[in-house]
Each structure stands twice: as C-alpha cells, then as structure tokens.
C-alpha cells in the first residue's frame, strides 16, 4: 500500500499526520466483503422469487390486469357526404357480461333473483342460465350476449334497481355479477350506397377495409381510454378513468343525391343486359372533386361478406376459402380506379392538346383524311374517309387519320411527354386504396405503329379516374388537380383538423388551347358521334370511345363517353364506361346506345339538382337538329380502328365479313414494343399493303367491300400474330407485372 511511500520521501513530517491504519483497512475490507455478501444473498433471494414463484406471480399479474382495468373503446370517426349526410357512423352497443364467480357466491335467493332478472329482461331460459353459470363457475368474465341496444341495457338496470329496492322481493339481483361492456358497431345507414368509395369496417373498429375506411383509417381511429382500479396502501379501491379519444370525421366530396342518381341509373341500365363492368365517375372539373363514383358491383356495407347478390346459395357453399375470398375481392373491387382498359377515342383530345401546345397545329389548320395512314409496314384505317377536316372537326368527327398525322408531326418524345403530363401511366394520387396506373409505351419502346395507334387511344391502357382527371384539366383551363373524394377532416369535436381540398399537381395545356379543344368536344355532341348526348337547354360537350377488347374480333367492346356541361365554363363532368355489354335482344351494342344515353340520363338528372343554369343562346340556335332521335338515322359514327369501325354504318358491313385491316386490328398485340422489332409476318404485310391500296383507291362503301373480300386472310394474319403477342406480353410482365395482371381481361385470352 501507498501509505509507506510518502514516509520514505519525508521521514519526519508524515508522522504528524494521522492516517488510516492498517487494521482499519483490514476492517474496512471485511466490511466491504460483508456488504458484498449481503447483496449477493439478496440476489439469491431475487433468483428464488423469480424461479420459485415467478410462474405463479406472472399469472397473478395477468389476472389483476383483467380484473382491475378495462378498456374504454374509442368511437370510430364518422364519414359524411359533402352536405353532412352521414354515410358511415359508429353506434354504441353493449355486451352483456356475466361474472359467474360473483353470482355463485351469493346465497340461493340472490342467485335465483339474478337468473330471474336475466330471464325476464332478455328472455333467456332457466336451462341456458344454469348451464352458463355452472360451466363457467370459476370464471369472472363471460361475454354472454353481444350488441345489445341501449334500451335493453336500461331495461335490465331498471329491473335490477326496482327489484332490489322492493321490500317484499326475495334475494337481490347481483350488481357486480352482471354488467355491461360498451362497444361500437359500424353502421352504414344507406347499406350499399357508395360502397366502393366508402369501404367498410368490421367489429374491430381500428381497421378499415377498402375505400375511405382504409385510406383514411389513421384519422378514423381514435385512442382507447382505460379505466383501471387498484387498491391503495389502505386497501381502498381507487378507480381512475381516462376517457377515450374518438376518431375524426371525414367529410367527403361525394354528394348523396348525385351518388344515388348515378347508382340507380346504372342499375336500371344493366337490368336488361349483361356487362362485365359499368363505371361512372361524376366530377367537378374545376376542382377534380369526385361527386359520385359508382360501378355496377354493389354490396351491402353492413354485411360485406354476403355474396348472395352475385351467387346462388349452392355456388357459395361449393366455394372453398380461396375461391370465396377471390369472389369477395372481385365484388369489393372499385372498377373506376383499379381496372385499366384501352380508352379508345376519348384520348384523342390529348393528342390535339399536344399538337396545339407544340404549335404544330392551330384552330384553322386542316387535315386531309383519305381513310387511313400508312405507317411503316401497315395501313391503319380511319372509320371514314373524312376528306378535308378542320382541327376542331378532326375531334368532332373523331378522325383517326388526323390524329396519326398530328402524332407523326410531334414525334414519339413529345407524344410521350404529353401522355405523362396528362397523367397516363402514373397514379393520379386519388385518396383511395388500390389505384392502378395502366401501361404505356415509354419513348424508347414506342414504335411508329404504337405512336399512330396511341394517338387515337389504342394500344395503351388507363383507369377511369386517370381519364376523368385528365379531362378535368382540359376543361378547367389547364390545371391538373389531384382527383379526390375527401374534402376535409374534422375532429370529433367538429373543428377542422385538415383541409384536404384541391391541389394543383401541374399545368397541362394553355387557356387558348382549351378553347379550341372545347369547341371540338362540343362538336362531338352537336354534329359528331354522340348526338344523343344533347340535353335541351344546355350546351353539352363530350367524347365517345370504343375499344375492342382482346382477343380482337371477339366483339367485346369497352364503350365509353365523357360528357360535360356547360361547354363555355364546364361545371360538371360525367364519365361513363360500359365494359362488354351483351343481351339477347340487341345483337350488338354501340357506344351510342349504351354509354352515351346512360351519361345523358345521369347528366340530365343532375343539372337541376346541382343548379346549373341553362344556356339560352345555344338552346335557340342549335337545338332542333340535335334531337337525340337523330341517332336512329344511324349517322352516329364512332371512330375506332378496330373492327369496331363497323359500328359506323351497320348496313354497309356484311355480317361477319368486316375485317380488321391487319395492322390496326391488334395494335396492342404488336410484339414490337417488347422486342424492338417492327417486322410482322410476311403474309400480313402483303395483305395490309393490298388492302391499303384498295382502301385508298375506293370510296367508303367500297372500302368495306374490299375488307370483306380479304377477311379470311387478314384474320389468319391476326391469329398468327396473337401467338407473338403472347411473347410480347411476357416480356412486358417484367416491366410492369402488376399492371399487366390488372389488364388481364384484355390480354389473357391469348
């Protein structure tokens, strides 16, 4: 030890300083060891407690928890429409909790009184009660009945109070042995209304499935409160309660009345036909607020697991679990945002917008439609030989040729840029789960044929909400708003927590271009392919679209119509998509007898409700010739490259004889996109050339004949190509597997 060290250095001085002595150090060391020993004894005690009593103590700890504390559930937030109409709310219900261990502690009279009380107020039988009490004799918590109403709860409690205060009654009804636990139950007052938008929430109110219930779940849930009791040092039970925090209220942009009108119109529409899907989106073009969004697939939100609307009893019982879940998911799926399809001619407006913006065309630029366009190795036809068309007419008459010319002028990169600008191929960011993005050709993968067909809406896919949002941006003067279904979020107390509102994502087109485009769209209704969309007293614009589904030639179409009003300052947009309509009575549905009248009917019903002022001037000057009846003339023409061309003039096309010009029939199937190779089968090339020449040489009617004559060959060619297309699709899977899968309805069959 160091004590000796200083001594050697200064021999005389240290003796003065009294230092700790060696025996003290020894004692200190033994004291230290004693303390260490004592502490290790305590460690031993802890070990004994943990390993000797741990299991029993852990059980006690858990038991104490359930006995002494209870959860106070939060109320899940309410969902309302834009006018505060409640679309989804949580109602307080009660669970009947029995505590047999307490009930059986009472004497025979008390037990009998308690059982009698339960029997009298809830109608249980003596046997039931005896059984539950004897089987759970040691349990303190039996949830005997669920979802009792407030009245039932009060009835029991009143009975108990009265019985127990009555002097002549024998025994007492147990106070602590029977109690009620409060719980919330999700209620959708209008059952299936807006089912795909709202989604649903089950007994677990912290979870939402689909729609707003899922997307805004974090706002809708609150925080559970807790009531807990403990015994203080003096053995008195203290009970502390922390109340629950309820979820926020979601105010949607949906309008109950609009949604109802739309849903009724769809149900009426599908009553006499079969369809794969019908989707309707109603938006305010100025803000991209969605006023209504509905599909033909309706289910009861109060009972979302019920498949009986779609399947028979036998079919349901025959399903295994995965089939059942597939069927449920198909029913819950929101076609308007989750399914993609080729839009068809509705996309033409974006080709024109690009041409205007890039100064490649002006309102008075004219295009010469000679019935089609030779693109590399194939001839892509227009619906008609339109002759000379102004820029606006090109849209009004839905001329494919003019679109192809414009696309050629701007080239792939500009075209791809505008597709992107209008939001195709990317998510719109709508506040609903499960949005799909569709498939586009990127600039480097796009062949000239792709460019030509994309120009009139073929050969790429999009969702309804993408198309509707892109249209809104054109109609409101060039601002692309994020489409949305929620307006604001209110706290449970009613204060605004968050204004979701309208956000401009980007600018798409200039105001001057918008005016030109709106004239073109107005022409579609006044003098084009959608004459039966006219509504008396209003200026209506719009655009039809017809796209044949895969496999081409199967006569399955996606028919669509985007309508809006008033043309001068659009306030309302209604977009209708009818996917694959068929019925026994009508051999073939066209856009003019499906999407257009459905849109017209919905819009007409909405105008008055939404207080949109009629346009008198337009009314006087142009109404008469645009009676919806004109459609009976068969003059209504749509505009598709595919065999759908035949819808132009039915009488001129021999039954079954109409042939797809080899190149535009299956544009989407052209394997070039994936393989970078634009050379198709040789025979097809020949056929296309021959046909192209004929088409050019002859008039409209004869063109149809020419097609008829070469029908066989061309069909073969198409078949041959379908094989290749399958490969192409495989390659594409790598690129965008998910979207591809969603697109399966179009491409699978091959």
């Amino acid at each position: 030890m160091k004590t000796s060290q200083p001594t050697t250095e200064s021999p005389k001085e240290p003796k003065k300083t009294k230092r700790i002595r060696r025996f003290m150090q020894k004692k200190l060391a033994s004291a230290y060891l004693l303390v260490a020993l004592a502490l290790f004894v305590l460690v031993g005690v802890i070990v004994w407690i943990i390993y000797g009593r741990g299991a029993a103590y852990s059980r006690i700890v858990l038991n104490q928890q359930t006995v002494n504390s209870s959860v106070i559930p939060f109320r899940r937030g309410t969902i309302t429409d834009r006018n505060q109409t409640v679309l989804a709310a949580s109602e307080q219900v009660y669970n009947l909790i029995l505590d047999p261990s307490v009930i059986l502690q009472g004497n025979a009279d008390d037990q009998a009184a308690t059982v009698a009380a339960l029997m009298n107020t809830f109608g249980y039988t003596q046997e039931e009660m005896t059984e539950v009490l004897t089987q759970n004799a040691n349990s303190a918590y039996v949830r005997y009945a669920r979802e009792l109403s407030e009245e039932q709860k009060t009835a029991f409690e009143t009975y108990r109070t009265e019985y127990n205060s009555g002097k002549d009654n024998v025994g007492k009804v147990s106070n602590t042995g029977v109690w009620f636990e409060s719980e919330y139950k999700r209620v959708y007052p209008y059952d299936s209304l807006a089912c795909t938008i709202l989604g649903f929430s089950g007994t677990d109110s912290s979870q939402g499935n689909w729609g707003i219930e899922q997307y805004y779940n974090s706002y809708l849930v609150g925080t559970n409160g807790r009531s807990y009791g403990y015994l203080n040092r003096d053995g008195v039970i203290e009970r502390t309660t922390r109340s629950a925090e309820d979820g926020a209220t979601i105010v949607t942009t949906i309008d109950y009345t609009v949604q109802r009108i739309v849903e009724n119109a769809i149900q009426e529409f599908i009553a006499d036909k079969t369809v794969d899907n019908v989707g309707v989106v109603v938006m305010d073009p100025k803000t991209a607020e969605i006023l209504a969004m509905a599909t033909d697939s309706m289910f009861d939100l109060n009972n979302p697991q019920d498949l009986s609307a779609r399947y028979s009893e036998e079919e349901i019982s025959a399903m295994n679990d995965s089939e059942k879940s597939d069927a449920l998911n198909a029913m819950w799926r929101n076609f308007a945002i989750s399914d993609t399809f080729e839009p068809g001619s509705t996309a033409k407006v974006f080709t024109e917008a690009a041409a205007l913006e890039e100064n490649l065309a002006e309102a008075d630029t004219t295009f010469d439609c000679d019935g089609g366009e030779q693109v590399v190795d194939r001839y892509i036809r227009c619906s008609h030989r339109h002759g000379e068309l102004t820029f606006e007419e090109a849209l009004g008459k839905s001329c494919n040729d003019a679109m192809m010319q414009m696309a050629k002028l701007m080239g792939k990169s500009v075209f791809a840029k505008y597709q992107n600008l209008f939001g195709f191929g990317r998510l719109t960011g709508i506040d609903l789960p499960g949005e799909a993005s569709g498939i586009l050709y990127t600039e480097d993968k796009m062949s000239s044929v792709d460019l030509a067909t994309n120009a009139f809406g073929q050969n790429f896919t999009c969702t309804m909400v993408q198309m509707a949002a892109a249209y809104c941006s054109v109609l409101n003067g060039g601002s692309y708003y994020k489409p949305h279904v929620v307006k604001e979020i209110l706290s449970s107390g009613g204060d605004v927590i968050e204004e979701v509102g309208s956000t401009v994502v980007r600018e798409t087109v200039s105001k001057s271009a918008v005016e030109v485009l709106k004239n073109g769209l107005a022409m579609v209704v006044s003098d084009g392919t959608a004459k039966n969309a006219v509504i008396q007293g209003y200026t209506v614009g719009g655009k039809t679209g017809t796209a044949e589904k895969y496999p081409r030639g199967s006569e399955n179409y996606v028919l669509s119509f985007v309508g809006f009003t008033p043309v001068e300052d659009p306030e309302l947009l209604v977009y209708v998509v009818v996917d694959n309509p068929h019925s026994k009575e009508v051999p073939k549905y066209t856009v003019k007898d499906t999407a257009v009248p459905l849109e017209q009917k919905i819009m007409r019903s909405l105008l008055e409700y939404l207080n949109i002022t009629p346009a008198q001037a337009f009314d006087a000057d142009a109404e008469a010739p645009r009676e919806p009846e004109t459609d009976a003339d068969g003059n209504i023409i749509d505009d598709v490259v595919t065999p759908a061309v035949r819808e132009e003039m039915d009488e001129e096309v021999p039954e079954g004889g109409f042939v797809t010009p080899a190149d535009d029939g299956p544009p989407a199937e052209v394997p070039t996109d994936a393989e970078g190779n634009t050379i198709p089968a040789e025979e097809r090339e020949d056929a296309a050339e021959g046909e192209g020449e004929e088409g050019e040489a002859e008039g409209e009617g004869e063109a149809a004949e020419g097609e008829a004559a070469e029908g066989e060959d061309a069909e073969n060619g198409e078949d041959a190509e379908n094989g290749e297309a399958a490969e192409g699709d495989d390659a594409e899977n790598d690129k965008d597997a998910e979207d591809d899968a969603e697109n399966a309805e179009g491409e699978d069959e091959e």
């Binding site: 030890m1 160091k2 004590t3 060290q5 200083p6 250095e9 200064s10 001085e13 240290p14 003065k16 300083t17 009294k18 230092r19 700790i20 002595r21 025996f23 003290m24 150090q25 004692k27 200190l28 060391a29 004291a31 230290y32 303390v35 260490a36 004592a38 502490l39 004894v41 305590l42 460690v43 005690v45 802890i46 070990v47 407690i49 943990i50 009593r53 741990g54 029993a56 103590y57 852990s58 006690i60 700890v61 104490q64 928890q65 002494n68 504390s69 807990y228 009791g229 403990y230 015994l231 203080n232 040092r233 003096d234 053995g235 203290e238 502390t240 922390r242």
Partner: protein, 408 residues
C-alpha cells in the same frame, strides 16, 4: 502552500471511475423514474414526464454541486461539523414539533412553509452525522476504542438519532448504522462486532418467530408492528399492508431472467403504488429482469469499492473516515432498499440511492460524492503539502501511477 501548484496537481488525479459510475447510475435512475412514473403522472398530473423532469432538474443542480464541492479542500467541510450538528437538531425539532413540519401519509418528514414542502431534513442529518463522527474519530487519539470514546460518540449521536427515529425509524436506523459502522471500522476491538451481529440476529429471529412477544413491546408503533406481521405472511394481508410488498414481489417474479423490456412493466400501472419511489427496484426487476437487477447491484458494489480505495489512500484519517461514512450510508441504503423490496426484511421506507425519485436525497448524495471526490483529489499530496514545492515535477506523477494501479 502555493495554490497554483496544488491546483495543477489536483487536476492530475481525479477518480473518474467513481465519477462515471455516479453519473451512470443517476442517468439510469432518471430513465427508470420516467418509466415507472409515466403512467400515473399522465393520469394524475396530465404530464407523463413530470417526475422525470423534476428529477432531471435536481440531478443537474446536484452534479454542479458535486463538482463544486470536489474542488474545495475537504477539511473545510469538516470544520463545519459542530455547526452541522446543531443545525440538524434545530431542523429536526422544527419538523417534529412545529407547524413547519409537513406530514405525508401520516408522518411528519418534510420541512416546509404553509404546506409547501421544501426538503427532508433527515437527509441533511445523515451528512451532518458523517462529518461529526469523522471529526470525533480523527480527534480521538489514544482513547479510541475505549468506553470513553464510545460515550463521546453516543452523546453526539443520540439526540439526532432520537429526533429522526421518532417519525422515521428507517432513517434513524441508517444514521445509527453510519455512526456505528464508522466507529467499528476505526476501533481495534472485535467483541462489539460480534455483539452487534448477535443483537441484529436476535431481533430478526424474534420478529420472525416471536410475533407474540413483539405485540407487547411498548416502543413499537402500530404501523411498525403491522409491517412485521405482513413481512412474515404477506399473502395473509393482500388487501391491507401486504399489498405494496406483494405487488412488488409479483413484479419481481413476473420479470424473469431478462424482464419484460424497458417501459413494459404492467405492475407500475397502478398496482405498485408510487413505483418511482422506494419500490423502484421491483420495477427494474420486472422490466430488466434478474440480469438488470444484478447489473445494478454490481454497479453499486463497484462504487463501494472505489470508496474503499479512496478511504485507504486518503491523506489523513479525517478524509478516510468521511469517505467511510458515505460508504456506510450508501451500502446500508442499497441493502435495506433491496431487502425490503424482496421482502427479506419488514417494509421500511428506504430509497435506492441515485435511482429512486427524490430531490433532496439526490442532491445530498451527489454533494457527499463531491466530498469523496475532494478527498480523492488530495490523495497524492501529503508529501508536498509538508515539503513545499522543492519536489521534482515527475515525482507526483509517479505516485499517481502507483496509486491508480494500486486502486485497480
């Protein structure tokens, strides 16, 4: 004595081991106070961090106090011994017999004004008694160990002890333990150690098996008696006195080897009352398990070991005795606290040093550590102090090395 030289050399030795373990335990304590008190503080005060924040304030002040105290010469504190003794008695009289004493849970333990509690004077009495005993022992020369020395210490100790034990037996026991412990280390004779051990053992045995006898002892308060009964059979009193003890045991037992994880105690949710105070160790066991408990105990043992090293190398007996006094206090409190929590001894309110919530206790403890650090800084200077600055520069440095290496 030239101060410049002293200062320079002071900086050259500092017990960073001790400093570190003190800071670590204080910070750990802060975390545990937060964990244990969050739930009840949130419920009752609306601010879950309330206790943690208050403790953090005291901790910051305490650390500054500790560092400042360490810079002073410890002899300066020793000179205050008689003043400290007098003030202790005055404070205890104020608490016990005047309206300045504020009672919580039926016991007058706080000194304050109009019901606003300021501090617990018993904590102050502990420091004062350490100083008093250290000074007395270092002043006794030859008669250390004789009856005279015992009488001398007894006279000084009996009054503060009695005044403290009146309302707070556990603090009284600690004060007695400090004084007796210091004296026993300082004396040569051994019989007193055995006597003491025998008395404690007899008391324990009587408490354990002679409950009937205890009931007739006049000097025990009713609450003390019931605690002994509870200690014997906590399960028999689950609703009354045994509640706290039992809940603490449940917490320890349910923790297992590695515990439920920091912050995951369920026993703190209203079952272990005021878990941030005396019962904090049970929640440490519940959340961090046996592993965490052993770690905490080892940290305390390491701290005590540093005290012993400093005491052995202190420049004079006064310094050694002061360190031993602090050592005795911390050792006793740690032992008693853990023993109570594990129901090894009857329930008595002793807080776990540096970890339990309590501003006065933390402040005083950190001040005491300041004194110990002050002693440690002077370890190597006894040679120079006598001899002035003729010494070679390298000489002290070599001593420091030898001290530090000896210390390890």
């Amino acid at each position: 004595m030239n101060r410049a030289k002293l200062k320079k050399n002071f900086l050259s030795y500092y017990d960073f081991n001790l400093l570190f373990v003190v800071l670590f335990l204080s910070c750990f304590g802060l975390v545990m106070v937060y964990s244990t008190s969050y739930y009840s503080a949130q419920l009752k005060l609306g601010d879950g961090a309330y206790y943690m924040k208050r403790q953090a304030e005291f901790m910051v002040i305490g650390i500054l106090l500790m560092l400042w105290v360490a810079t002073r010469d410890y002899h300066a504190w020793a000179r205050l011994w008689f003043l400290g003794w007098g003030v202790s008695i005055i404070l205890m009289i104020l608490v016990n017999f005047t309206s300045f004493g504020i009672d919580f849970n039926g016991k007058k333990r706080w000194l304050g004004f109009n019901g606003h509690a300021l501090f617990q004077p018993t904590e102050f009495v502990k420091v004062a008694m350490i100083l008093v005993t250290a000074v007395l022992i270092s002043k006794m020369n030859r008669y250390l160990g004789t009856m005279r020395s015992i009488r001398m210490i007894f006279y000084f100790a009996i009054l503060p002890f009695g005044l403290v034990a009146m309302n707070n037996l556990s603090s009284g026991i600690i004060i007695a333990g400090i004084v007796v412990g210091m004296y026993l280390v300082a004396t040569r004779e051994k019989w007193s150690v055995w006597l003491l051990t025998g008395v404690i053992a007899a008391a324990v045995l009587m408490a354990k098996f002679g409950t009937g006898l205890l009931l007739n002892l006049p000097f025990l308060h009713q609450y003390q008696l019931s605690r002994i009964l509870v200690w014997n059979h906590p399960e028999a009193y689950p609703q009354s006195g045994g509640f706290q003890v039992l809940q603490g045991l449940y917490a320890i037992g349910s923790g297992g080897l590695f515990g439920k994880g920091l912050g995951n105690s369920v026993q703190k949710l209203g079952f272990v009352p005021e878990a941030q105070n005396d019962m904090i160790f049970s929640i440490i066991c519940e959340e961090l398990g046996l592993f965490g408990a052993v770690c905490v105990i080892l940290l305390f043992l390491f701290m005590l070991y540093r005290f012993m090293v400093i005491a052995n190398n202190a420049p004079d007996l006064l310094g050694s005795m002061m360190v031993i006094g602090v050592m005795a206090q911390i050792a006793l409190q740690v032992f008693l606290n853990i023993a109570v929590v594990t129901n090894f001894i009857p329930n008595t309110g002793v807080s776990l040093p540096f970890i339990s919530y309590g501003g006065t206790a933390l402040l005083v403890l950190l001040g005491e550590i300041g004194i110990v650090l002050g002693v440690s800084r002077q370890i190597q200077f006894e040679a120079e102090e006598e001899e002035s600055s003729a010494e070679e520069e390298s000489e002290p440095a070599a001593q420091i090395r030898s001290i530090t290496s000896a210390g390890r």
